[in-house]
């Protein structure tokens, strides 16, 4: 059983409480950070660790911290716990079960970046996660781990837990800041980047929940230990949310670079395809990641390898589709998500996601024309790289990759008026 880092002790009864977390070594990393490191040295440490963001973009964490503008404006840290990428449910688990690990990470990161006010933006729909995090923050305040003069040092920090209210777009860092400031969650033009002009105009660091939760272990274990896991450019371990047609869906922590095949088929993890069916496709990084065919099952799960295979590591959400899945219907379902979640600010995404859904719907239900397949590709090219934020691009991933890998299935819908596989095929009727 490989070593667990971010999920170590996660099933210890009561680990969500300060007392039990402390008994298991909790907040020793914070003490070490504050007593043995100057803030800038901590930034260097995290740079050397090779830690990359676990939210979706995989940007090097230490490097992001080093971009903070050096001016007089108040600085802020924001933990992005707005987990909303379809397929992803790992941050929720961390917050519900071991919230103090996140809180400790927030304090360490804030100390490293000389930040005195931190926010934890928790997705609105995660009521229990927010309750656990709020309680953990309060316990930490009561124990002098947050507030004035932390652990007797001259470092002070305030932590505010802020609940979202239902908007996938608010997981995008600039929309998150707009939302925190009390506005509609529309993305901002970048540059300037948050590190220069962020929350309330001040330099801001935005890190994912899992990224921050990894910091205590790096502090305690050290660089040599942490970099012994993973690959050359993708260090450490990460949580993979495995879902879809597997026998044992779940959140599994594995070293980066583990073969995808192990995650899907190994008895310790996915246990194989549900019903012992054939694997049809894999979406390796949440629904915003391009679809991979079954022939890519030996891809290694690290940022570089997944990119080389034609997709992206994204949020670590691995979605498995079996041979009975109508790929057109699955893509339609994913596209409806982007249509519903589009903030509406920019025309290519707002209008594009609507039309993509309309065309996919008529293809799925047997009213499509052969030109519709190229029409889909055309709309995608009008969105990709031309919308205001990555949501638009994300909407095109499954369609572009789906047509490339399964074009015949789209054409089948046009020629026969119904699905090639799945429920719709059985009766000659659209599903």
């Amino acid at each position: 059983m490989p070593e667990l880092i971010v999920t170590k002790d996660i099933d210890v009864p009561g680990i969500n409480s300060l007392e039990v977390y402390h008994q298991h070594g909790g907040y020793q990393a914070l003490a070490k950070a504050v007593r043995e490191y100057q803030p800038d040295d901590l930034v260097e440490l995290i740079k050397k660790s090779g830690l990359r963001g676990r939210g979706g973009a995989g940007f090097p964490t230490g490097l992001k911290w080093s971009f903070l503008a050096k001016n007089d404006k108040p600085r802020y840290l924001c933990c992005n716990a707005d987990e909303s990428e379809p397929g992803t449910c790992k941050d929720r688990m961390l917050m519900e079960k071991i919230p103090h690990r996140l809180v400790e990470g927030v304090i360490i990161a804030s100390y490293a970046c000389r930040i005195n006010t931190a926010f934890i933006y928790v997705r609105g729909e995660l009521a229990e996660a927010a309750r656990q995090v709020e309680r953990a923050v309060q316990e930490a305040y009561d124990a002098g781990l947050i507030g004035k003069n932390i652990l007797g040092s001259d470092y002070s920090l305030d932590v505010i837990v802020h609940r979202g209210a239902g908007a996938y777009i608010c997981g995008e860092e600039s929309s998150l800041m707009e939302s925190l400031e009390g506005n509609r969650g529309y993305p901002r033009l970048k540059p300037p980047f948050p590190a220069v002009v962020g929350l309330y105009g001040g330099p801001t660091v935005i890190n994912n929940c899992e990224t921050l939760s990894t910091l205590p272990a790096i502090l305690m274990g050290g660089i040599e230990w942490y970099t012994s896991f993973g690959t050359e450019k993708s260090k450490g371990t990460r949580l993979f949310s495995l879902s879809g047609h597997v026998k044992k869906p779940g959140n599994y922590e594995l070293p980066l670079g583990t073969p995808l095949r192990i995650l899907i088929y190994d008895e310790q993890y996915g246990g194989g395809i549900l019903g012992n069916k054939q694997l049809k496709a894999i979406i390796p990084g949440g629904s915003s990641a391009p679809i991979l065919g079954a022939d890519k099952v030996d891809t290694l799960l690290d940022f570089e390898s997944i990119a080389a295979a034609g997709s992206m590591a994204g949020s670590g959400a691995v979605i498995i589709l079996n041979e009975d899945t109508c790929i057109v219907d699955a893509i339609l379902r994913m596209t409806e998500f982007y249509r519903d979640e589009s903030c509406g600010k920019c025309t290519p995404c707002r209008e594009g996601t609507y039309w993509l859904t309309e065309i996919l719907e008529r293809l799925e239900h047997g009213h499509g024309k052969m030109q519709d397949i190229d029409r889909l590709a055309d709309i995608c090219s009008n969105i990709s790289g031309k919308s205001f934020c990555p949501l638009g691009d994300a909407a095109t991933s499954s369609i572009v990759s789906g047509i490339k890998l399964f074009r015949e299935e789209f054409e089948y819908h046009v020629k026969h008026g119904h699905c090639m596989v799945g429920k719709g095929a059985a009766y000659g009727l659209p599903a």
């Binding site: 379809p86 397929g87 729909e125 802020h162 979202g164 209210a165 239902g166 519903d340």
Partner: protein, 170 residues
């Protein structure tokens, strides 16, 4: 009714943030908790406390899906229908609940007890299919479990006195 106590809670929240306007979202959560949905009175109270216009507050309230613009049933059932739940037959679950409750998705039962909605990914993909009842998760939902859930909720709703209003939690 937005009581003085609720308004004070909003003021306390506003004092926590670097800029008071940031409290508009938690203040709207308070309005919904107290009134069941975002009422005109609720918008007015938030605007007053945070020194914003009602239109400004309403522009925020209408952006986020969790703030209801109309009254809902006593039990709001949200069934996830994004990709991971779709792959584990959430559509069959929704159809089953529609039949059981006698409403289409998006509608409220005539007795005001249930609202059935489909929602986007709820971050519970590894225990699909899932639903939430008044923001609390029910996971790995089989059709039998869905029936048992409605049975239990029916019992709970019938046990309440018919004239009692929903509790105002301050």
């Amino acid at each position: 009714m937005i009581s003085e106590q609720s308004k004070q809670r909003m003021r306390d929240l506003a004092a926590r943030y670097p800029v008071a306007r940031s409290a508009v979202m938690p203040a709207l959560h308070i309005v919904q908790q107290v009134e069941g949905y975002i009422t005109p009175e609720g918008l007015q109270a938030v605007a007053e406390v945070l020194n914003l216009t009602v239109d400004d507050v309403e522009s925020v309230a209408t952006f986020y899906t969790m703030y209801y613009q109309h009254p809902k049933g006593k039990k709001v059932i949200k069934v996830c229908n994004s990709i991971s739940c779709y792959l584990r037959n959430c559509d069959t679950l929704v159809e089953h609940l529609e039949k059981r409750l006698g409403v289409n998705r998006g509608e409220t039962t005539p007795d005001g007890n249930y609202t059935l909605m489909t929602v986007e990914c709820l971050a519970s993909c590894t225990t699909a299919p899932v639903l939430q009842v008044n923001d609390e998760f029910v996971e790995n939902v089989t059709l039998e479990q869905a029936d048992a859930l409605i049975d239990e909720l029916d019992r709970e709703l019938n046990a309440r006195k018919p004239e009692s209003k929903s509790e105002v939690r301050l």
